[in-house]
Subunit: 503 residues, 2 copies
């Protein structure tokens, strides 16, 4: 029988191979979004399916299961604060998550989401929720069946949330959102009662080449390493990684909004800095990933919002923008610019939401997801529930389901349990930011000088270089001394918008 | 026991999977050349090795061997002119070529070429043949050992040539080259004795954006389908295919030559038109590839030379170029342009050679390769042999080995047997061209009007859509009624250069 050392070596060979297959998969998908001519679609589908199958087989093999069981039994305390125990624990968790769902259920799920996605695209075009409804019901049924394989739990949603936020429970999220919602509604009412700020100078065509130049300049300033990355165009901005040495961002430019791409590039740079900063020590092991999706989102939001939408950042960057876009910004003051890019306006579409309204969109989706999963809501009632709550939370009612319950791609893709990570990311970004400013009070001054190096250094040390060494709640506690807490985000929003909206 | 139908189905599943792995491999390599930031190199190497290993395992599996043996035994005559017999025959040939070399010999070869490549890069920089010599000897030794696994043969080189030109023998190539060489030397002497034409207008900086625009315009005119392809920049131009729906070309622009990229784009377009035109009927089967490397090269050379360097093409395209590059071409006549782009000048570097000198470079390499492989030449004598023959064939002597025997990447990469395909491609291109003009005498006139559709239609019908249905010699015989024949190429060169050089 092989010794522990030998088994660990073999485990790492297998996780390395899985990691490589995942990187290859990511390249196939990046290329599809960025480069692939239309004619390549059918073959690309087959190539992607092949790699996905190989990765699945590797991730669920009996050999891997036996290795992990053996190694786990040799570790006396898997919860010990010990790197080796952690590596085995995460490997076991990943294995169980992959291996517990039977292959035929996975195929059924892939087929169901593939069919649902096509129906959703058309339903959204035609404002026809009825046609999508049975698919939605079916997908939630399948996800509930998957969840049931991971009993016991307090709520079936726990099992789905676990995929994105290991260690977090539905009740935790619910408690956070319950504390958050009334306070955000209150803030939004105060803003609505104030004089609106002007942002017409933003809602114009800005030359794309100069937008790209500006975004690249800012990404460089933030610390994005171009020797280990690149920027390309894609219909929906995203960041992808083929290992810490090759982390790519994408963006798109809008005809009628000259600033959207800039903030999007800052957002993706935030994600990319995390992936570029993962520890080489854990390379290709079970710990070679982010702590969670919410932690990842906290990075993108911190750079996009706490940094990019700050007055200090504007002081540094606005002159550069005036130089690039004299016709748009030449006669705008710094203060007008700062207030304009921070304009708050309830809108129907989540992806266009500002900092003050974004979480409301997420909470609505969380309530629907948990309700559909535990049977307390029915799919056919969704349009009404959606519209009622939009009115309650944001004071607006969508004109149709296309701008309402049909707007997001997630459900048709089977991504249930994912939405909360967006709001949690916002909350965590403010918690990190507060702590960072306590540690380095000189950061605001440095930002006005265009120096972001302390921010990156702090994040590298406290977040990036830890890779998946800690689960998200443990990481947040380690850094801030407490749990995920909505208070810092609420403080941040209130301070900011009281100033901008003068209430 | 499974029936024939079932076995064939299984065989096709396996060849489809191999085909997909090869496409994924091609994407990893394309991305590495075109997009990858430097930091991605190490991970990319691991990803490529992983896919190569999977493809090797699939291509050499016992299951595949048994399937092919069973199916072959059920076909009464594998040489029958029957699609099904052909599919099994080619599958068997591919399998044997892959499976006969033991895995450890392949690893030894990969390690040897990897080491040799590094030494070659440095040796070429330092003009230090001595340091490369033992590696060269080792690589030829390993290739000879590989060849010996494919006995019997007349010459060990036969076994290597077979990888690129199935069915062709060293003696065939030698006979062709023996007929060709004195006639090309004679032509070159006549040209050298004539008044040289001027091409200083070519040897200038042309704006890269407009070069790209021109190349894309010409590629479109030739029939390149942009819905199934794209053009990118890469250090060394190449064409790659991930299936007939996604065939990509690359180019590069030179500071001191405004026409090099244009002809290079025409060359790669010629390759790409072949790959875009492979028959969907054979998709992902053993026949889903070109007939051979020489046939592939005949396509690129036909579009680059017979079409792109013709007076008729210039009549159509020169006004477009004058519009794009008025400063360079505004005061040049069509005749000056035509003669300038066809200037013949013996040079040390193969990749820069013109139509009249190119084959001489190839014949020199063929003589060295066969000599090293059968032991009639020794590696240490190569610099002298090289320089002597350069003088004999082209009338020039390289100033150093960097511009001589060390110039090509092929040998350090283990690509032995590949060089002849370049010259054979030239010869075949002229044979096809002669036949095509007999079939469609209106082609020259159509070219002056910028209409290349008959050319593409003829190639689609006679070459592209046949995929690997025929071996190269059979394909040439099927089209021209005879073997590979240097006469059409000699006629083409003599006619063209007598006119240009007026001898």
């Amino acid at each position: 029988m092989a010794g522990t050392e030998e088994k660990l070596k073999r485990l790492r060979e297998i996780t390395a191979e899985i990691s490589r297959l995942n990187s290859i998969q990511a390249l196939l998908e990046w290329d599809q979004q960025v480069n692939m001519p239309r004619g390549g679609a059918e073959d690309r589908g087959n190539q992607t399916a092949l790699i996905a199958g190989l990765a699945f087989d590797k991730s669920t093999s009996d050999e891997l299961g036996t290795l992990i069981a053996d190694l786990a039994s040799e570790v006396t305390d898997l919860d010990a604060d010990d790197e080796y125990a952690r590596e085995i624990k995460v490997a076991r968790r990943n294995f169980e998550r992959s291996a517990r769902i039977p292959r035929e259920k996975i195929i059924e799920f892939v087929l169901a989401t593939s069919a649902a996605h096509e129906v959703w695209v058309k339903a959204r075009q035609d404002n026809d929720f009825k046609s999508f409804e049975p698919h939605l019901t079916h997908i939630f049924d399948l996800r509930r069946q998957q969840a049931e394989l991971f009993q016991p739990y307090e709520h079936p949603y726990d099992a789905l949330l676990e995929e994105y936020e290991p260690g977090m429970k539905t009740a935790d999220v619910r408690a956070i959102f319950e504390a958050l919602r009334p306070r955000q509604v209150e803030l939004l009412r105060a803003i609505a009662a104030s004089e609106q700020v002007d942002n017409t100078f933003v809602k114009q065509y800005y030359p794309f080449d100069d937008q790209r130049k500006l975004g690249s300049f800012i990404a460089s300033r933030f610390g994005y390493d171009w020797e280990r990355g690149r920027l390309d165009l894609a219909p929906h901005p995203f960041t992808t990684s083929f290992g810490a040495g090759d982390v790519r961002i994408t963006t798109r430019f809008l005809e009628k909004d000259g600033m959207s791409a800039l903030f999007s590039m800052m957002h993706e740079t935030g994600h990319a800095l995390y992936d570029q900063g993962l520890s080489p020590k854990y390379r290709e092991t079970s710990l070679d990933r982010a702590a969670s999706y919410a932690i990842h989102e906290s990075q993108s939001r911190l750079w996009e919002n706490m940094v990019g939408r700050s007055r200090e950042f504007c002081r540094f960057a606005f002159p550069v923008m005036q130089m690039l876009f004299p016709q748009h910004l030449g006669n705008i003051t710094l203060e007008q610019f700062y207030r304009g890019i921070n304009r708050v306006e309830p809108s129907f579409i989540r992806v266009e939401a500002d900092e003050a309204t974004y979480n409301m969109h997420i909470m609505l989706r969380f309530e629907i997801e948990t309700g559909l999963l535990d049977g307390s809501l029915r799919a056919r009632d969704l349009p009404e529930i959606w519209n009622t709550r939009m009115q309650e939370y944001l004071g607006i009612t969508p004109p149709d389901d296309t701008n309402g319950v049909l707007q997001d791609v997630h459900w048709s893709s089977g991504l249930i349990g994912y939405f909360p990570t967006y709001a949690l990311g916002n909350l965590i970004s403010a918690q990190l930011w507060e702590k960072m400013l306590q540690d380095y009070p000189g950061i605001p001054d440095a930002m006005t000088a265009g120096d972001f190096s302390q921010i990156l250094a702090w994040l590298r040390q406290n977040v990036h270089s830890l890779s998946a060494r800690y689960d998200p709640l443990d990481l947040v506690r380690r850094i801030t001394g407490g749990p995920i807490d909505p208070e810092p985000y609420l403080r941040y929003l209130n301070t900011k918008y009281r100033d901008i909206y003068r209430f």
